[in-house]
């Protein structure tokens, strides 16, 4: 009986966590759209003038204004804008002359591929480094890891990308240069998922696969370094909290091996808070990829955004901002709700 009530209690807690997540996420989305709407419609001098040019007659100007729906009140315009966005209409890009939504769908997988490999590197190295630093607190190993992590907060991503290209591509020739694949491999595999590695593997074209990996590894590693810095710092601080607890001392007194104390007794409880940290750094990577993509001519959303910025292509700029912002918010809030569901204390 008691297990039954605690079970319904738990289901209720999960449902309320999910309900809260949906409401907060939707509200934040509306806030995001309010900001992009504000930037797009209110800040530029006059959106009508930018369309008709400054030599248009008053009649042409008024006609264009009505055609663009700008004669309506701001509130009505905003509601129309939200409706457009939810239908996937982000306007037309001036520079590519295609709809921004289809452009973004085309470039997004490239960013996803790079950020995913980046986070894999960041987690794969950052978590062990953080645990190691905590286990050797105060020693020179801890200090080195600390300075290494602080570098992740101080090095400009674009600069590290350039230096990486000079060292690993131009000098050592360990990796391939900018771009996604060598030019003669371009368009060889059919883009089914848009993820070059997956597409090549599906097509069984391993030459393209290895070439794509060769191109991907350096930008992903540099991107991974930044999440590594954050993940290692947080892992260290979580671990220190755990290792200071009394049950750890008890385990040590009982004669449990140090390895077991650290990885079983110490590490297990911090897996849940780590999920939030990993989620946050994954979202931050999507943002960090803007700079890295520019340096590596990587055809992802960051590159698309910067090209649009330089061409003053406002629809493309705001569309990219909206998509990156939405993914960022979604990952943030999702890791939040995951934490609440997985945290044993909420059971």
């Amino acid at each position: 009986m008691s297990t039954n009530t605690s079970k319904t209690h738990r289901v209720k807690a999960i449902l309320s966590a999910i309900g809260g997540f949906v409401i907060v996420t939707l509200l934040t989305f509306v806030g995001l759209m309010a900001i992009t709407f504000f930037i797009g419609r209110v800040i530029p001098i006059d959106p009508v003038l930018s369309v008709v040019g400054d030599r248009a007659t008053q009649e042409q100007y008024d006609a264009a204004k009505i055609a663009m729906g700008l004669d309506r009140s701001l509130m009505v315009q905003f509601i129309a804008y939200v409706g457009d966005v939810f239908q996937g209409d982000l306007g037309r890009s001036v520079s590519t002359n295609r709809s921004v939504a289809s452009d973004l769908a085309r470039v997004f997988p490239a960013t996803l591929e790079m950020a995913t490999l980046g986070i894999a590197i960041g987690v794969g190295l950052g978590v062990p480094l953080g645990v190691w630093a905590a286990a050797r607190k105060g020693t020179w190993i801890d200090q080195i890891i600390r300075v290494f992590a602080l570098l992740g907060y101080s090095v400009p991503a674009f600069w590290l990308g350039l230096v990486g290209l000079v060292v690993f591509y131009a000098t050592l020739d360990w990796v391939a240069g900018p771009g996604r694949v060598d030019i003669f491999y371009e368009g060889l595999v059919e883009p089914r998922t848009g993820l070059m590695l997956v597409d090549a593997a599906l097509a069984g074209d391993w030459q393209v696969f290895w070439n794509a990996l060769d191109h991907l590894i350096l930008p992903a590693a540099i991107l991974g370094f930044f999440s590594l810095a954050y993940i290692a710092r947080m892992t260290r601080s979580f671990m220190l909290d755990q290792l200071g607890q009394e049950y750890i001392t008890t385990a040590r007194v009982k004669g449990v091996s140090e390895w077991r104390v650290i990885w079983v007794h110490g590490f297990r409880p911090i897996r849940v808070p780590l999920i939030t940290v990993i989620g946050l750094s994954y979202a931050a990577l999507l943002e960090g990829s803007v700079m890295i993509e520019t340096v590596f001519s990587w055809p992802g959303i960051g590159n698309y955004l910067t090209v649009a910025l330089l061409n003053a292509d406002m629809n493309a700029v705001l569309g990219s901002t909206l998509v990156i912002g939405a993914v960022f918010i979604l990952i943030n809030k999702l890791s939040d709700v995951l934490y609440r569901i997985l945290d044993p204390r909420s059971r």
Binding site: L27, Y153, S154, T321
Partner: protein, 301 residues
């Protein structure tokens, strides 16, 4: 010397000034015991001195072209080499300290008081004022800062002033959160009620009693944020949206050097070292300040 020290450390100070100076002195001594904080402080001091005395430190003017000396590697005459117009890179980096310092100072001056005020008002009044202000703050907080800054600069137009405004717009929410949390801890304290009873207005309480109590955690947070502000400003400069040529802004200099990166590596790498050094300096100093001013947070992260 000892008399000054005794006066500063007096347990029963005779005036407000003496008490405040004594406190600052104690903090300074605590800070000096942290080696990384000292290193950070020295770096920031060097930045400030370089910015003030740039004309005396730099061997050449930052804009002086010498087409006969284009793209020279680092040497005794040109410590960091020369760029594509024959300008001395070391001189440009030194003058760049002025721009960097101006950017971080202005962003801090705009965003910290704004965040402080919004957070303090929300925390002090509570209720629906709190809900609305914190709702707006949370929306800004859950958005990617760099992307938001990029979009604002795109709308406002490229340039260093707009870059500063854009970064400030994206920086204040974190400060509002901190100020609100601080304010919540003492909004129901007796000294606040006493001031109310004595007829102090809400404005007076917020300005004279609430805001001063929030400043120390604010200083810590702003110092820690400086590295991020410098990186964002440099990133905007790198993309051509921040400081415009021929201004010797470090990010814009890296962007120019990108063209020659394979053969003349020093053009792009040298300003990068300046960015790393200054950002690290702020990180070290911020970490140290946190341990001194905000012991609750010390040891964490």
């Amino acid at each position: 010397m000892t008399t000054v020290q005794n006066w500063l450390l007096d347990d029963s100070p005779n005036s407000k000034i003496q008490a405040n100076l004594g406190n600052s002195y104690r903090m300074f001594r605590a800070l000096m015991r942290n080696p990384l904080a000292v290193v950070g402080g020295v770096i920031i001091l060097t930045l400030v001195l370089a910015a003030i005395f740039a004309p005396w430190i730099a061997p050449q003017t930052p804009l002086g072209q010498d087409l006969g000396a284009r793209l020279l590697p680092p040497s005794a005459a040109h410590w960091m080499g020369t760029d594509e117009l024959g300008r001395d890179i070391f001189s440009r980096v030194v003058y760049g300290a002025r721009i960097t310092l101006m950017i971080v100072a202005l962003v801090a001056i705009i965003s910290a008081p704004l965040g402080l005020l919004i957070g303090a008002v929300a925390g002090y009044f509570g209720g629906w004022i709190d809900k609305i202000l914190m709702g707006i703050t949370d929306v800004f907080l859950s958005m990617p800062k760099l992307i938001l800054a990029l979009a604002f600069v795109a709308a406002l137009g490229p340039g260093i002033e707009n870059a500063i405004i854009a970064i400030a717009i994206t920086s204040w929410p974190a400060y509002a959160r901190i100020a609100r949390a601080e304010t919540m801890t003492f909004r129901n304290s007796e000294f606040i009620s006493a001031t109310r009873l004595l007829g102090g207005s809400h404005t007076r309480i917020i300005v004279r009693h609430v805001l001063p109590l929030c400043t120390s955690s604010m200083i810590v947070r702003v110092t820690l944020d400086m590295a991020g502000i410098i990186l964002t400003a440099a990133g905007l400069g790198f993309l051509g949206l921040g400081a415009q040529p021929p201004l010797p802004e470090w990010g814009a200099m890296i962007s120019r050097g990108r063209t020659f990166i394979l053969d003349q590596w020093w053009v792009a790498t040298m300003p990068g070292f300046a960015i790393i050094l200054v950002s690290l300096g702020f990180c070290f100093l911020g970490d140290g300040l946190r341990d001194v001013l905000d012991p609750k947070q010390g040891g964490k992260s």
